[in-house]
């Protein structure tokens, strides 16, 4: 806390407050918002308003308060805005999934079917698991720099996790045409979400180790310096494998994500624009190749260009999402008063259009700003932290969220072709949620290192200077002392 300036050799930098109080306050605010959202949904869906809702809100606050105390215990200087932003996004996601559950149940009742399983209960369970992982990561990773020692291990583990669903038989790994799952019983996880974090750790550690090679040794070509091939080899292998595996598993969104991460980390590590140019050329080449090679990519592009030409077929989902956003307009229909359930996968890939229909442009802009706060705080930690590995790690972790946001929202709003990715914390999906909690825990760890005061040197008890005797530093040779003094 801001102590009065102590007697020190240098003027102390103004001490940053730890911000834990602000964090708790904002968490309580988020709990109020989420509880309010739940009450509005229940009221608009003609459900009975009971005190249970209040208890649910308190339970939500309790969960995040536990996370808050873990932060207080293990990362006391961490950024105070990251956890509340995450809590708000996750809470809004839960409310929206619950709202879609209600709609599904109502429709099932209308058709005389059995009520479908509740998604929100699963998602709440995943949230709890995610928060447990969050606490464990904060507790076990006491310093982010220790992760750099496991760079190659993390990269290897990440590649295995990525490749696993591609190797496993389709009955276990395939859902809706994308082979990126591992399912046991009713529970499915997407190992790719965890591979994302592991590969960011690997890329950061690798780039820090080889940083000099990337920015010094190189060959000039067309006015740009390119690194030697052998320096690049491990990186290219890792990239090629991840992209290859992803193409094989038919998940182009994640493939794009990995490529983007690698490019940004290279740029952040070397500050060379040539990497961006090379990367964009690679991207254009890859996109053209994918368009020509894969039928499902062509379908996606066709839908993107004109979703209404095949409205009853492939364009139905995107078309309905656009209608939903249009219905929402500027102010939205009000939570629980719209029909977001008309969009297939309204709770996962298309939760953005569900929120847009019921909260409107004003609400979407607010949510986008919450994401923006989360991402800029991550990038700010990257700027402020003192070691290069931490810088790259925080950049990668923040950027992966930003890119995911762009790819998903761009896809839903028909800015870019649709690729199947989830919105961090909002969308329904256990693996994504749990992995993102681990990601945020690492981000908090880095921001803790960035904001913590420098370790103080142990103070040796000293006599007050007024009573201290003058120390004889140098035997005064009067003439030389005089001449040196005169020179100065």
């Amino acid at each position: 806390m801001a102590a009065p300036p102590q007697v020190q050799g240098r003027a102390p930098a103004p001490a940053l407050p730890t911000g834990r109080g602000i964090e708790l306050l904002l968490l309580a605010f988020a709990a109020v918002i989420v509880t309010g959202a739940l009450v509005i949904v229940e009221a608009n869906q003609e459900q009975e308003l009971t005190t249970t809702l209040l208890w649910l809100g308190l339970a939500y606050l309790g969960l995040f308060a536990a996370a808050h105390f873990a932060v207080r215990r293990w990362a006391p200087y961490a950024d105070p805005l990251i956890l509340p932003s995450v809590a708000l996004l996750n809470g809004l996601g839960l409310v929206m999934i619950h709202r879609l559950d209600l709609a599904d149940a109502a429709r099932a009742a209308q058709l005389g079917n059995d009520a479908p399983g509740s998604l929100v209960l699963r998602q709440v369970a995943w949230t709890a698991i995610g928060l447990v992982l969050f606490v464990v990561v904060l507790w076990r990773v006491s310093d982010h720099r220790m992760l750099s020692r496991f760079g190659y291990t993390a990269g290897f583990a990440g590649l295995i996790l990525l490749a696993l669903p591609g190797i496993l038989p389709s009955s276990i790994s395939e859902v809706n045409g994308a082979k990126l799952w591992i399912r046991f019983g009713g529970v499915g996880i997407q190992p790719g979400e965890f591979a994302k974090i592991l590969l960011i750790i690997f890329f950061s550690a690798f780039l820090v180790q080889k940083r000099e090679l990337f920015s010094t040794a190189g060959r000039r070509f067309l006015g740009l310096e390119f690194p030697r091939a052998r320096d690049l080899a491990p990186l290219v292998v890792a990239w090629g494998l991840s992209v290859g595996v992803l193409v094989f598993e038919r998940d182009l969104g994640t493939s794009l994500l990995f490529f983007g991460i690698l490019l940004v980390l290279l740029y952040a590590a070397t500050e060379r624009v040539s990497w961006m140019i090379v990367g964009l050329l690679f991207f254009v080449g890859g996109a053209v190749l994918a368009y020509n090679l894969f039928g499902h990519v062509r379908v996606r592009v066709q839908i993107w260009l004109d979703p209404f030409s095949d409205f009853q077929g492939g364009g139905y989902q995107l078309g309905q999402a656009l209608f939903g956003l249009g219905t929402g307009g500027v102010g939205g229909t009000g939570l629980g008063a719209g029909r977001p359930d008309l969009v297939p996968f309204a709770e996962s890939d298309f939760i953005w259009s569900s929120l847009g229909e019921e909260l409107g442009l004003i609400g979407l802009a607010a949510i986008l700003l919450v994401y923006l706060v989360l991402i800029t705080r991550g990038l700010r930690s990257a700027l402020a932290v003192r070691d290069s590995f931490g810088k790259l790690l925080a950049t990668g972790l923040s950027y992966v969220m930003a890119l995911q946001l762009f790819v998903v929202i761009g896809g839903v709003t028909k800015l870019i072709p649709l690729t199947g990715l989830t919105l961090p914390f909002l969308s329904y999906g256990g693996s994504s949620l749990v992995a993102n909690y681990a990601l945020v825990a690492l981000l908090l760890r880095v921001s803790n290192a960035a904001r913590a005061p420098l370790p103080q040197r142990p103070s040796v008890p000293q006599t007050p200077i007024a009573q201290a005797a003058t120390e004889l530093v140098q035997r005064p040779d009067l003439s030389s002392g005089e001449s040196r003094g005169a020179q100065s």
């Binding site: 240098r10 918002i33 932003s85 008063a337 409107g360 706060v373 003094g485 100065s488």
Partner: protein, 152 residues
Amino acid sequence: MPELVLQLTRAGFLALLWLFVLFAMRIVRSDLYAASGLRAIMPGGSRAARRSGRGRMARQLLVTQGPLAGSRITLDSRPILIGRADDSTLKLDDDYASTRHARIAPQGEDWYVEDLGSTNGTYLDRAKVTGPTRVPLGVPVRIGKTVIELRS
């Protein structure tokens, strides 16, 4: 639900969401200034900082140790030169001091001490002064056998 209540909750919820965003932005802003050291721009902190600063601005320089102990120099906006040279503001008669030993100069509301390449160095409390360093009130600056302090 009645239409009016629906509209009110709808607007109220959006307002609440934006309130959260604005609150977060406010913290982002205050952090921004805290990190760059520009405290004066912070709306809340500026007044407190200025209040505490005005009452405790350095007004005089007091020699607490050495042959000249007890002498005072009233500070204005001009820098104070310390050394054995005749044109020093504080002329020391001290074998351990150099001809032009140190300078204490104001910058804004603070005073900074700067060593002018002296043989035996200038010490702010216990630390050797290497570059211009802010001198807080009441912190001893040691030059040879002489110790000076800034007082309000």
